[in-house]
Amino acid sequence: MKSFFLKQRYLIDFTLSSLLRRSGKNIGLLLVYTLIVFMLASVMLFTHALRNEAGHVLAESPEIILQRMIAGRHDLIPGGYLEKIGQVRGVMEKHGRLWGYFFDPAIKANYTLMVPRDRSLGEGEIVVGAGIARTRGVGIGDILSFRSADSRTFSFRVMDILQSDSELVSSDLILLSEAQFRDFFGIPEGFYTDLVLRVRNPKELRTIAEKLTLKLPDTRPILRDEIMRTYDSIFSWRQGIVFILMAGAILAFVIFAWDKASGLSAEERKEIGILKAIGWETADVIRMKFWEGFIISISAFLLGYLLAYLHVFYASAGLFESVLKGWAVLYPEFQPIPYIDGLQVATLFFFTVFPYTVATIIPIWRAAITDPDTVMR
């Protein structure tokens, strides 16, 4: 056992010497590979962190949301549906919810307007999300003017700004009173955007949802579990897509590794011949060459992962901002909470170190079986 480790150290000695001899080429290789790992790891850490954060935060969403569908479109739901639901066992609370979108032509952004139930706002008063405040450059006490559905101009005084550390869920919100909301959008009294049901026992959710679809066939219930599972799989799906795209880069790299290992120069071939002639066994040469690939790929893996960690959790994944933002004007400023686990790191390892190592098996073997007497010819 001890001699095994001693031997590996000797082999690493030699491998490093021979890597350093072609240091320009090998450092370039390491950098490119590190970059690929960095991209993969960043995507992975970022989506995983968001998924976990979404899971924690959205666990507080309403248990059931009931939306009315007309001709396949989400439509306003009459308040009378609340009575129609009647008494369903297990439903603690039910009420209408008012929310909608508003496109602000001044900055070409989409806001979410919402009527809060936890605070009362007066005529001309609004509370805005930190993202809006930042983008429009407004503070508490400033006035925002919007044109309503029927072309009237509404002036709102910003009473408060939602706390900025919750931007991930609130950056584009505008909260206003029910009367103003109805007036602004022209929504008649007695209609809501959708209905919210609070349920005491989560085990009863399904039965309740079933009863609702029976009683109100033109509605669809959205369960909190569905929302959470949707977010869970959205992120792993997208992570997967990115991985498939990046797989192209990895594949290219693997081909490159293969090519590098099989296209040994005459000099390298001679070198292996010398090693074998002076007493290195084929298996020793294979091991030495294994170390060569492993040193490059493990270094790229560790460096790439560490850089990605800094990028995602200390630099707010700055490189992804423009990608996530798309055409949107509002983008929440947030620092993802670093949820990481061994599975991610192990997966990343398999995606990076494993293909590189495997791709070189046959070329390495081919090089290693060089006749030891070539140096004599």
Partner: protein, 111 residues
């Protein structure tokens, strides 16, 4: 006395592995410390009855993924190529894919 190259390598390898371990410790520590921040957000979600992250605000179906219509402009088919860039980063909601659980088959809306 020169240091052996293999020793240098193994030491840096161990050092890098320690750094990786440090990221786990750091992550664990920050998750523990994020409790109040998370609670604040969760409380806002509860009070305002929010259902989605405001990550993608370009279009209504990207803003409220879980509340999207069956048929939205620019998105006639769940897997259609869309106009909005962030649409390429998110998977169409299960509600639209037809793979979601049918709670009560008789009343399921025809697509």
């Amino acid at each position: 006395m020169h240091m052996r190259k293999s020793d240098l390598f193994l030491i840096s390898l161990v050092f890098a592995c320690i750094l990786v371990a440090v990221t786990f410790v750091d992550a664990h520590w920050r998750v523990l410390n994020a409790g109040s921040h998370l609670d604040g957000m969760a409380q806002m979600v509860r009070q305002l009855e929010l259902t989605d992250l405001s990550l993608f605000t370009e279009a209504r179906y990207t803003r409220h993924l879980s509340q999207a219509d069956y048929h939205t402009a620019f998105q006639d088919h769940p897997l259609a190529i869309e106009h909005f860039p962030s649409g390429s980063l998110i998977h169409p909601p299960q509600l639209l894919q037809g793979t979601d659980e049918v709670i009560f088959p008789e009343t399921a809306l025809p697509d």
